[in-house]
Point group: C2
Chain length 119, copies 2
DNA sequence: GTATCTGCAAAGAATTTGCAATCCT
DNA sequence: AGGATTGCAAATTCTTTGCAGATAC
Protein backbone atom coordinates (compact mmCIF):
# COMPACT_ATOMS: atom_id res chain seq x y z
CA UNK A 1 0.00 0.00 0.00
CA UNK A 2 2.82 2.40 0.86
CA UNK A 3 4.59 1.32 -2.31
CA UNK A 4 1.41 1.89 -4.28
CA UNK A 5 1.04 5.42 -2.99
CA UNK A 6 4.64 6.32 -3.82
CA UNK A 7 4.33 4.80 -7.30
CA UNK A 8 1.21 6.82 -7.96
CA UNK A 9 2.54 10.09 -6.56
CA UNK A 10 4.13 12.43 -9.02
CA UNK A 11 4.98 15.10 -6.46
CA UNK A 12 7.89 13.52 -4.58
CA UNK A 13 5.90 13.18 -1.36
CA UNK A 14 7.26 13.51 2.14
CA UNK A 15 6.55 10.83 4.75
CA UNK A 16 3.72 12.99 6.03
CA UNK A 17 2.09 13.20 2.62
CA UNK A 18 2.44 9.46 2.14
CA UNK A 19 0.94 8.88 5.57
CA UNK A 20 -2.03 11.10 4.76
CA UNK A 21 -2.65 9.37 1.46
CA UNK A 22 -2.38 5.86 2.86
CA UNK A 23 -4.64 6.91 5.73
CA UNK A 24 -7.46 7.55 3.33
CA UNK A 25 -7.62 3.85 2.60
CA UNK A 26 -6.15 2.42 5.80
CA UNK A 27 -7.34 4.87 8.46
CA UNK A 28 -5.54 3.10 11.30
CA UNK A 29 -2.04 3.11 9.85
CA UNK A 30 0.58 4.80 12.00
CA UNK A 31 3.56 6.96 11.14
CA UNK A 32 5.90 4.30 12.50
CA UNK A 33 4.60 1.79 10.01
CA UNK A 34 4.97 4.24 7.15
CA UNK A 35 8.57 4.93 8.12
CA UNK A 36 9.32 1.24 8.53
CA UNK A 37 7.82 0.34 5.18
CA UNK A 38 9.56 3.18 3.40
CA UNK A 39 12.89 2.08 4.87
CA UNK A 40 12.30 -1.47 3.66
CA UNK A 41 11.33 -0.34 0.18
CA UNK A 42 14.40 1.87 -0.05
CA UNK A 43 16.62 -1.00 1.09
CA UNK A 44 15.00 -3.27 -1.51
CA UNK A 45 15.66 -0.57 -4.13
CA UNK A 46 11.98 -0.32 -4.97
CA UNK A 47 11.86 3.41 -4.36
CA UNK A 48 14.38 6.20 -3.88
CA UNK A 49 14.82 8.34 -0.82
CA UNK A 50 15.69 11.96 -1.45
CA UNK A 51 17.66 13.30 1.48
CA UNK A 52 16.90 16.98 1.82
CA UNK A 53 19.56 19.22 3.35
CA UNK A 54 16.79 20.88 5.28
CA UNK A 55 13.30 19.66 5.96
CA UNK A 56 11.73 16.27 5.60
CA UNK A 57 13.00 13.64 3.19
CA UNK A 58 11.00 12.94 0.08
CA UNK A 59 10.42 9.74 -1.85
CA UNK A 60 10.50 9.02 -5.54
CA UNK A 61 9.35 6.03 -7.54
CA UNK A 62 12.12 6.72 -10.05
CA UNK A 63 15.02 4.63 -8.81
CA UNK A 64 17.68 5.47 -11.37
CA UNK A 65 20.25 7.83 -9.87
CA UNK A 66 19.07 11.37 -10.43
CA UNK A 67 19.00 14.75 -8.76
CA UNK A 68 16.34 17.33 -7.93
CA UNK A 69 15.44 20.97 -8.27
CA UNK A 70 13.29 22.44 -5.49
CA UNK A 71 11.37 25.68 -5.91
CA UNK A 72 11.93 27.81 -2.82
CA UNK A 73 8.54 29.44 -3.29
CA UNK A 74 6.08 26.65 -4.04
CA UNK A 75 8.18 23.62 -3.02
CA UNK A 76 7.65 21.88 -6.33
CA UNK A 77 10.29 19.24 -6.97
CA UNK A 78 11.55 18.66 -10.49
CA UNK A 79 13.68 15.66 -11.45
CA UNK A 80 16.98 16.49 -13.08
CA UNK A 81 19.87 14.42 -14.36
CA UNK A 82 22.52 13.63 -11.82
CA UNK A 83 26.08 14.69 -12.20
CA UNK A 84 28.46 12.07 -13.50
CA UNK A 85 30.84 10.70 -10.89
CA UNK A 86 33.69 10.63 -13.39
CA UNK A 87 33.09 14.31 -14.08
CA UNK A 88 33.44 15.06 -10.37
CA UNK A 89 36.70 13.16 -10.24
CA UNK A 90 38.01 14.77 -13.39
CA UNK A 91 37.63 18.30 -12.04
CA UNK A 92 38.60 17.35 -8.47
CA UNK A 93 42.00 15.70 -8.25
CA UNK A 94 41.55 15.64 -4.46
CA UNK A 95 38.91 12.92 -4.65
CA UNK A 96 40.38 11.06 -7.61
CA UNK A 97 41.24 8.11 -5.37
CA UNK A 98 37.98 8.06 -3.44
CA UNK A 99 35.29 5.47 -4.01
CA UNK A 100 32.22 7.60 -4.67
CA UNK A 101 29.05 5.58 -4.13
CA UNK A 102 26.25 8.12 -4.23
CA UNK A 103 25.81 11.76 -5.12
CA UNK A 104 23.07 13.79 -3.48
CA UNK A 105 22.41 16.94 -5.45
CA UNK A 106 19.61 19.38 -4.70
CA UNK A 107 19.35 22.67 -6.59
CA UNK A 108 17.27 25.48 -5.12
CA UNK A 109 15.66 28.38 -6.91
CA UNK A 110 12.43 29.57 -8.45
CA UNK A 111 10.40 27.63 -10.95
CA UNK A 112 9.13 29.49 -14.04
CA UNK A 113 5.67 29.96 -12.51
CA UNK A 114 6.90 31.53 -9.27
CA UNK A 115 9.54 33.49 -11.14
CA UNK A 116 6.95 35.29 -13.23
CA UNK A 117 4.45 35.52 -10.37
CA UNK A 118 7.00 37.69 -8.61
CA UNK A 119 7.53 39.91 -11.62
CA UNK B 1 34.70 33.74 19.00
CA UNK B 2 32.39 31.42 17.07
CA UNK B 3 33.72 32.91 13.85
CA UNK B 4 37.26 32.38 15.07
CA UNK B 5 36.65 28.73 15.79
CA UNK B 6 35.13 28.12 12.36
CA UNK B 7 37.96 29.96 10.65
CA UNK B 8 40.50 27.86 12.47
CA UNK B 9 38.76 24.55 11.95
CA UNK B 10 39.83 22.56 8.93
CA UNK B 11 37.44 19.69 9.57
CA UNK B 12 34.08 21.19 8.59
CA UNK B 13 32.77 21.11 12.16
CA UNK B 14 29.20 20.48 13.22
CA UNK B 15 27.45 22.83 15.63
CA UNK B 16 28.30 20.42 18.41
CA UNK B 17 31.99 20.47 17.58
CA UNK B 18 31.96 24.26 17.41
CA UNK B 19 30.15 24.41 20.74
CA UNK B 20 32.73 22.13 22.35
CA UNK B 21 35.63 24.17 20.98
CA UNK B 22 34.19 27.52 22.00
CA UNK B 23 33.37 26.07 25.43
CA UNK B 24 37.05 25.54 26.11
CA UNK B 25 37.51 29.29 26.18
CA UNK B 26 34.01 30.43 27.13
CA UNK B 27 32.81 27.66 29.43
CA UNK B 28 29.37 29.21 29.92
CA UNK B 29 28.35 29.55 26.32
CA UNK B 30 25.13 27.77 25.37
CA UNK B 31 24.06 25.87 22.29
CA UNK B 32 21.41 28.48 21.54
CA UNK B 33 24.04 31.17 21.32
CA UNK B 34 26.20 29.06 19.03
CA UNK B 35 23.25 28.45 16.72
CA UNK B 36 22.29 32.12 16.75
CA UNK B 37 25.81 33.28 15.99
CA UNK B 38 26.27 30.74 13.24
CA UNK B 39 22.99 31.83 11.64
CA UNK B 40 24.14 35.46 11.74
CA UNK B 41 27.52 34.65 10.25
CA UNK B 42 25.92 32.63 7.48
CA UNK B 43 23.50 35.48 6.73
CA UNK B 44 26.43 37.91 6.64
CA UNK B 45 28.21 35.55 4.25
CA UNK B 46 31.16 35.19 6.59
CA UNK B 47 30.92 31.42 6.67
CA UNK B 48 29.15 28.73 4.70
CA UNK B 49 26.58 26.30 6.00
CA UNK B 50 26.72 22.82 4.56
CA UNK B 51 23.26 21.27 4.68
CA UNK B 52 23.65 17.55 5.11
CA UNK B 53 20.92 15.30 3.75
CA UNK B 54 21.19 13.31 6.96
CA UNK B 55 22.75 14.30 10.23
CA UNK B 56 23.88 17.62 11.56
CA UNK B 57 24.83 20.52 9.33
CA UNK B 58 28.47 21.45 9.06
CA UNK B 59 30.19 24.79 8.68
CA UNK B 60 32.98 25.90 6.42
CA UNK B 61 35.12 29.03 6.41
CA UNK B 62 35.40 28.73 2.62
CA UNK B 63 32.52 30.82 1.36
CA UNK B 64 32.90 30.41 -2.40
CA UNK B 65 30.26 28.04 -3.73
CA UNK B 66 31.61 24.54 -3.54
CA UNK B 67 30.52 21.00 -2.80
CA UNK B 68 31.67 18.22 -0.50
CA UNK B 69 32.69 14.60 -0.36
CA UNK B 70 31.93 12.72 2.85
CA UNK B 71 33.62 9.45 3.75
CA UNK B 72 30.97 7.04 4.99
CA UNK B 73 33.53 5.29 7.16
CA UNK B 74 35.51 8.02 8.91
CA UNK B 75 33.24 11.02 8.25
CA UNK B 76 36.06 13.08 6.81
CA UNK B 77 34.77 15.92 4.64
CA UNK B 78 36.72 16.92 1.54
CA UNK B 79 36.00 20.12 -0.40
CA UNK B 80 35.24 19.63 -4.06
CA UNK B 81 34.33 21.96 -6.89
CA UNK B 82 30.66 22.62 -7.31
CA UNK B 83 28.80 21.78 -10.44
CA UNK B 84 28.19 24.64 -12.80
CA UNK B 85 24.59 25.84 -12.92
CA UNK B 86 24.75 26.32 -16.67
CA UNK B 87 25.86 22.72 -17.00
CA UNK B 88 22.79 21.59 -15.07
CA UNK B 89 20.56 23.63 -17.34
CA UNK B 90 22.27 22.43 -20.46
CA UNK B 91 21.64 18.77 -19.70
CA UNK B 92 18.20 19.39 -18.18
CA UNK B 93 15.82 21.17 -20.51
CA UNK B 94 13.15 20.79 -17.81
CA UNK B 95 14.80 23.38 -15.59
CA UNK B 96 16.08 25.62 -18.36
CA UNK B 97 13.65 28.35 -17.35
CA UNK B 98 14.18 28.04 -13.61
CA UNK B 99 16.18 30.54 -11.58
CA UNK B 100 18.71 28.34 -9.82
CA UNK B 101 20.19 30.14 -6.82
CA UNK B 102 22.13 27.48 -4.96
CA UNK B 103 23.30 23.95 -5.55
CA UNK B 104 23.82 21.62 -2.62
CA UNK B 105 25.93 18.66 -3.65
CA UNK B 106 27.20 16.01 -1.27
CA UNK B 107 29.00 12.93 -2.56
CA UNK B 108 29.31 9.86 -0.35
CA UNK B 109 31.86 7.11 -0.50
CA UNK B 110 35.13 5.91 0.94
CA UNK B 111 38.25 8.00 1.19
CA UNK B 112 41.55 6.44 0.08
CA UNK B 113 42.55 5.61 3.67
CA UNK B 114 39.32 3.79 4.53
CA UNK B 115 39.24 2.17 1.12
CA UNK B 116 42.57 0.47 1.65
CA UNK B 117 41.90 -0.21 5.32
CA UNK B 118 39.06 -2.41 4.22
CA UNK B 119 41.13 -4.26 1.65
C1' DG C 1 2.57 -21.92 16.48
C1' DT C 2 6.24 -19.14 15.47
C1' DA C 3 8.09 -15.39 12.90
C1' DT C 4 6.78 -11.04 11.16
C1' DC C 5 4.28 -6.84 11.26
C1' DT C 6 1.55 -3.39 13.44
C1' DG C 7 -0.21 0.66 16.52
C1' DC C 8 0.95 3.41 19.96
C1' DA C 9 3.50 6.20 22.60
C1' DA C 10 7.85 7.41 24.17
C1' DA C 11 12.54 8.43 23.00
C1' DG C 12 15.90 10.56 20.07
C1' DA C 13 18.63 13.92 17.33
C1' DA C 14 18.99 18.56 15.48
C1' DT C 15 17.40 22.98 15.71
C1' DT C 16 14.58 27.00 17.17
C1' DT C 17 12.46 30.10 20.33
C1' DG C 18 10.45 32.75 24.56
C1' DC C 19 11.92 35.09 28.21
C1' DA C 20 14.19 37.05 32.00
C1' DA C 21 18.73 38.41 33.09
C1' DT C 22 22.98 40.49 31.48
C1' DC C 23 25.97 43.19 28.84
C1' DC C 24 27.50 47.27 26.30
C1' DT C 25 27.62 52.18 25.40
C1' DA D 1 18.61 54.15 30.20
C1' DG D 2 17.91 51.42 25.93
C1' DG D 3 19.01 48.09 22.50
C1' DA D 4 21.33 44.02 21.53
C1' DT D 5 23.05 39.55 23.27
C1' DT D 6 23.03 35.84 26.31
C1' DG D 7 21.83 31.36 29.14
C1' DC D 8 18.53 28.33 30.02
C1' DA D 9 14.85 25.44 29.29
C1' DA D 10 10.98 24.31 26.78
C1' DA D 11 9.07 23.70 22.26
C1' DT D 12 9.39 22.10 17.26
C1' DT D 13 10.37 19.07 13.64
C1' DC D 14 11.59 14.82 11.73
C1' DT D 15 12.65 10.14 12.61
C1' DT D 16 13.45 5.87 15.25
C1' DT D 17 12.34 2.37 18.63
C1' DG D 18 10.44 -0.73 22.55
C1' DC D 19 6.86 -3.40 23.36
C1' DA D 20 2.55 -5.77 23.67
C1' DG D 21 -0.92 -7.24 20.78
C1' DA D 22 -2.48 -8.59 16.13
C1' DT D 23 -1.41 -11.04 11.58
C1' DA D 24 0.24 -14.26 8.38
C1' DC D 25 1.56 -18.67 6.86
Amino acid sequence: MVLDVVKNSMDHPTTDMIYTRVSEILPNISMGTVYRNLAQLVAANEIMQIGMPSGADRYDWRIESHAHFVCTDCNTVIDIANINIDDIKRINPGVKDCDIDTVNLVAYGKCPKCKQAKA
